[in-house]
Symmetry: C2
Subunit: 500 residues, 2 copies
């Protein structure tokens, strides 16, 4: 081996050690959400915190910095290795910017803020949350300066979830949402409403569970490299691409919760199972960004899972499992019912169109807070005004308004936009997949998801962080992210459903 | 706080950090045995190995040694704190005796030995195992010298599982087994055999599962601080006393496997749940020794679980669950059938009397190997001779003979005797419990296990490692461990069952 190869090997083993600890944390978290007995919660939190401290210490070890700096000067590394060094160095240098004092302060504020949010939500009173959230916004503004940015302070926060994303680009996307989607939703809401009363009947839990597993199997989820369990909030977690787990929730009186959590989490899981196992722990073996991760879940959930071909193959089976409940419901009616558009107050219950208004509102408020153009005290008023403007809804209480999400209490500013990015990427990728794959919808209609999965594996999954999100999008579709693909998809589909 | 209190607090937080990592390893192992998907095994092994390395590094940190040495000189620590310092220092100094070279060599030999054992067992050929086992015995003899001992080199190995135990004491115990139990079992085998044909019928798995949970509940196992799952080999694991989990195995054609694994593991789990949660990670918050741990499982499994009062309360429920299979079987017959004594080749299937012959044979062979009085090549012949002598059985193959246990391939020399110690302690403790608790057997007959559990909590669980095993035994029963209690228990019970 050359000296460089030896250095690279050492770097790889060090960074994989960090990955091992982080994946152990993921196992502890998974267990916490699925099987942890009640009294085990306190000690588990301590164990996770200890491991997190160890992972952090290992990841900022000066030895790793030395290795990366030496390797960064190399001119003989392969493209793949060079990206791994570059991305790891970027991460390493970012972590170095945080002083111990800052980390301790952020952790204390987060803990306080979360407690306050819990109390405020339960009391339905934003004022209880306000003082802590003010501290959080202040420290987040501090964090922007500490991390640095070129154009806009909010870019520094965005970068943590969506590396390279810019506030200016989001401004363009959301101005398109504003100018095109708001009116289209208004038009939809003036049409005759779609029926979905059959959604709310008793559905046997075991049959639901069975159907969910069948959908995952059909998507190509590898049950030898994963499993599904039950948790309060569905999630996907990875302990390495050979062990990627999903959870679901089953509501005995609402069939749809389980169906869409299975498909959504299944999409996330296919991405993680498709990452290169030989690049475990390295950037090229990791998901690219939250937006790209969400593009994989949304593509399966919406572009595939809410399409007519998908239900052409799956509805007969569903009718067989729930013959009593669904015997009067035609495929056409069922298909329409899974695509109802209706403005509502709670983000997590929103349909695939009005969802983006929820995100836009949060983005606008976060940006203004970071810019210092509004204060925390202004949030409830602005929130409610925007819900009136974009969704034509009156917010009856903070609980159903600005207290509904946990994110700000965790300090996750810059996170929400990745949800919309996910849907917009999904639409653009899916548009390309339809062009690239012969008779894609015919395959789906036959229950053959393999051509689509192969396409995703080849174009997205295998790359990990080899490209950044914009490069990936250009590599696949020949252009940067554009809202027009989502809008075209929405118009084609919903004009049909609502007879516009 | 005084300087000493500050030092003690620092020591405690350091040692609890190690405990956090070790318990995280336990979670990863638990998941591996219960829910791990097939392809996840390889990366999981790597993650566990990384965490084990981290735990080791943390536990031998010079800072801990400094703290312990300073605290060891203190004269103002409480008794409890003093024991924690003393025991931690003992552990710390023991770990310091292992050079890195030795650890690496031991790990390589263990890995080789395990592979060889797997192959040998599958091929039913001890010669495949022999060369690796020779290396293992050699390195174990080296380990005895490295660790040091006062009387006998084997003491150094025993001490790893049963701190303070001496070969000389085991010689006395097993000479009692030899002189008293061998003849008694011979006498039993001359009596009319007890029937148990109903054991081998089809038993619904869900009903078995349900009954097992009821037994655990009745014992006082806290399901809010634990849970039961299914695994190939039943085990108990602790992530702290507020999260102690058991597993069981259900054989649809043999009712007894599930019943005794539940009671046995339940006994282990009650011990772990009874450890002081405020002493998490400290010696006084840990199980005392493997022998004492086993005393808790054996006491519940045999002294309680194979007693008539226990089935007086539980047999009616079992008959209710399996009315078809058990309707012809009287309580008396059922009770006798769970106490059949019959020499057999495989240790893990042995009854509670002949079990100790299996252990005695392994103890005698291990001791002679460490003394250098026999060689590895002698094992099969000696093994088979001893099975003939003590159990009057011909060993038809190495697979059913000296290749049956995994322990030697892991390097676990000195481990087997703790199984017998467990039963002997159990008999002595239970004898005392009957004296101390008013109408104990009446309580059991009524399904009220609380008085017994309270007694175990008060006399054993709460102490952790405050006493050593001999001190504990004296503290509870007024004397050191003696075989006579087990022998009396055995005679009383089996004379009745076999009409002697």
């Amino acid at each position: 081996m050359t000296t460089e190869q030896t250095l690279y090997k050492t770097f790889k083993s060090k960074i994989q050690e960090v990955a091992d600890v982080n994946h152990a944390i993921a196992v502890l978290n998974w267990d916490q959400e699925t099987y942890l007995p009640q009294k085990g919660a306190k000690i588990r939190a301590q164990q996770i915190s200890t491991l997190a401290g160890i992972a952090h210490t290992l990841s900022i070890a000066p030895e790793i910095g030395d290795l990366l700096n030496k390797l960064g000067k190399s001119e003989t590394l392969s493209d793949w290795d060079r990206i791994n060094v570059k991305e790891s160095l970027r991460e390493y240098e970012k972590k170095q910017k945080y002083s111990k004092e800052f980390v301790v302060k952020l952790s204390a504020v987060t803990s306080e803020c979360y407690q306050a949010w819990m109390k405020a939500r339960s009391a339905n009173d934003f004022q209880i949350f306000r003082p802590s959230l003010e501290k959080m916004v202040a420290i987040k503004r501090e964090e922007c300066e500490l991390l640095g940015y070129e154009e806009h302070p909010y870019d520094a926060l965005l970068d943590q979830y969506e590396p390279g994303a810019k506030t200016s680009e989001l401004n363009v996307l959301f101005s398109d949402v504003h100018s095109q989607l708001v009116d289209f939703v208004k038009e939809i809401s003036e049409q005759e409403q779609v029926k979905d009363s059959w959604m709310y009947q008793a559905f046997n839990k075991d049959s639901q569970w069975k159907f969910g597993l069948e959908l995952l199997e059909q998507m190509g989820y590898d049950f030898k490299a994963g499993r599904q369990d039950i948790s309060e909030h569905p999630f996907t977690t990875s302990f390495g691409s050979s062990d990627v787990r999903v959870t679901t929730r089953i509501n005995p009186n609402n069939l749809y919760e389980m169906i869409w959590s299975c498909i959504h989490e299944g999409g996330h899981a296919l991405y993680e199972q498709g990452l290169k196992s030989e690049d475990y722990g390295l950037p090229t073996g990791m998901y690219l960004s939250l937006g790209i991760h969400e593009s994989q879940s949304r593509l399966w959930e919406n572009n595939v899972g809410r399409s007519l071909p998908y239900w052409q193959v799956n509805y007969p089976r569903l009718q067989q499992l729930f013959s009593e409940q669904l015997k009067q419901v035609s495929l056409e009616d069922f298909y329409k019912s899974v695509n109802i558009v209706k403005p509502s107050l709670i983000r997590t219950n929103a349909d695939e169109l009005t969802y983006h208004f929820h995100i836009m509102i949060r983005f606008e408020i976060e940006k203004a807070l970071i810019e210092g153009k509004i204060t925390v005290a202004d949030i409830p008023t602005i929130w409610n005004e925007k819900y009136k403007e974009y969704l034509n809804l009156d917010v009856p209480s903070d609980k159903q308004g600005c207290l509904q999400d946990i994110h700000w209490s965790h300090g996750s500013f810059g996170y929400f936009p990745t949800y919309s990015l996910g849907s917009f990427y999904a639409a653009q990728f899916y548009h390309q997949a339809v062009k690239d794959i012969d008779s894609l919808e015919k395959h789906i209609e036959n229950g053959n998801m393999q051509p689509l999965l192969d396409w995703l594996r080849k174009n997205i999954h295998q790359y990990g962080r080899f490209f950044n999100a914009d490069e990936l999008c250009q590599h696949i579709t020949g252009e940067s992210l554009s809202f027009k693909y989502f809008m075209n998809y929405a118009k084609t589909k919903y004009k049909y459903i609502y007879n516009i």
